[in-house]
């Protein structure tokens, strides 16, 4: 058991696995995302209430989905960092925080632009929008804290604590549309129910969500590799890797 853990936590092992996975993640992800977006933009039927503006959904929902699940993944990694002190977990938190921040920004931005023709306003301080804005600030906080402390171990620990404190926000985002009166429409997908849209509207959405997930996987691998190269620059295997030009 401990051996498996040890192996899973070894940066060298991860670097190799990531290199093998990355081409698959990138091309499959880009293909799915592109297919979903082209389908959603040009071939999906028009929404009878919102007209064509609803096509923003195909980038808004994947971004918002990723924004929240990246945070949840970071929170799981934070638990691993605190309990088992595995280096890779901390590497993950550090590497994906900027990615999560960009997805959150995209969800907010596309939501605002979608809100204008649909609700008649760019922004209102309602529960869903405000909690999403808090998520963006949480990401900024994580990025700032992890780079502000120079000692690697204490940076890892304090960042993990911040991530875990912020995780309260995730259920608030999720249920805000049910707990409070808000302009935002309820979730498009639920695990327990059939989607309320017609298949030629939700299949492209599903493709786009899956595609963006895979691209996130690629980004996470790439950014973790960069972080590993920086941190382990004194180890023999990194020096050999750099010299051989593999990278």
């Amino acid at each position: 058991m401990w051996q498996i853990f040890h192996k899973l936590g070894s940066p060298k092992w991860f670097y190799g696995i990531a290199s093998k996975l990355m081409p698959w993640l990138l091309w499959l992800g880009a293909g799915l995302l592109l297919a979903g977006l082209v389908w959603g933009l040009a071939f999906a039927p028009k929404d009878y209430l919102q007209g064509n503006s609803y096509r923003i959904l195909y980038i808004h929902v994947p971004s918002a989905f990723l924004a929240q699940s990246v945070y949840l993944m970071m929170a799981s990694a934070a638990v691993v960092t605190l309990v088992w002190r595995i280096k890779l977990a901390d590497l993950f938190v550090r590497s994906v925080a900027p990615v999560g921040a960009i997805f959150t920004f995209l969800a907010l931005f596309t939501g605002a632009v979608w809100g204008k023709p649909t609700w008649g306003t760019w922004w209102i301080w309602d529960a869903r929008l405000t909690s999403m804005l808090i998520l963006l600030f949480l990401y900024f906080g994580v990025i700032a804290l992890s780079s502000a402390i120079s000692d690697e171990k204490s940076a890892a620990r304090s960042t993990a604590v911040l991530v875990l404190v912020g995780v309260v926000n995730i259920p608030i985002i999720k249920y805000s549309v049910e707990w409070w009166n808000t302009l935002h429409q309820p979730a498009t997908f639920k695990l327990t129910e059939k989607p309320s849209m017609s298949p030629d509207m939700w299949v492209p959405l599903l493709l786009a969500v899956l595609g963006l997930y895979l691209i996130f996987g690629w980004l996470a691998c790439l950014r973790m590799q960069t972080e590993i190269l920086t941190r382990e620059s004194r180890t023999r295997w990194v020096q050999e890797l750099v010299r051989s030009g593999e990278g």
Binding site: L37, L41, A42, F43, A44, P45, K46, G51, N52, S53, R55, I56, I59, H60, S63, P98, V99, I102, F105, L106, F109, T110, V113, W114, K116, P117, I215, W218, L219, L222, R223, Q225, T226, L229, T230, S233, V238, Q239, V242, R243, G245, G247
Partner: protein, 74 residues
Amino acid sequence: MEFDSIAAFWSMEGHGPYVWTCYAVFTVCLVGLMVWSMRQRRSVINSQRRRAGRSSARQAPAAASFTPVQPSRD
């Protein structure tokens, strides 16, 4: 195809500016993030290779060596 012409696709019955702004910003952010991350890794590798080159040059015996002379100031 849900639209009759390219012009209709472009204007989206008046919603075009909103839809296309979103897609443009999304593309720029995502592609930017991907390119930035790739460049970061490249620059880390390059700087380490340079450092490795320097340190191995230091270890190799120099072809011609000279001893720096400290001129006395008195």
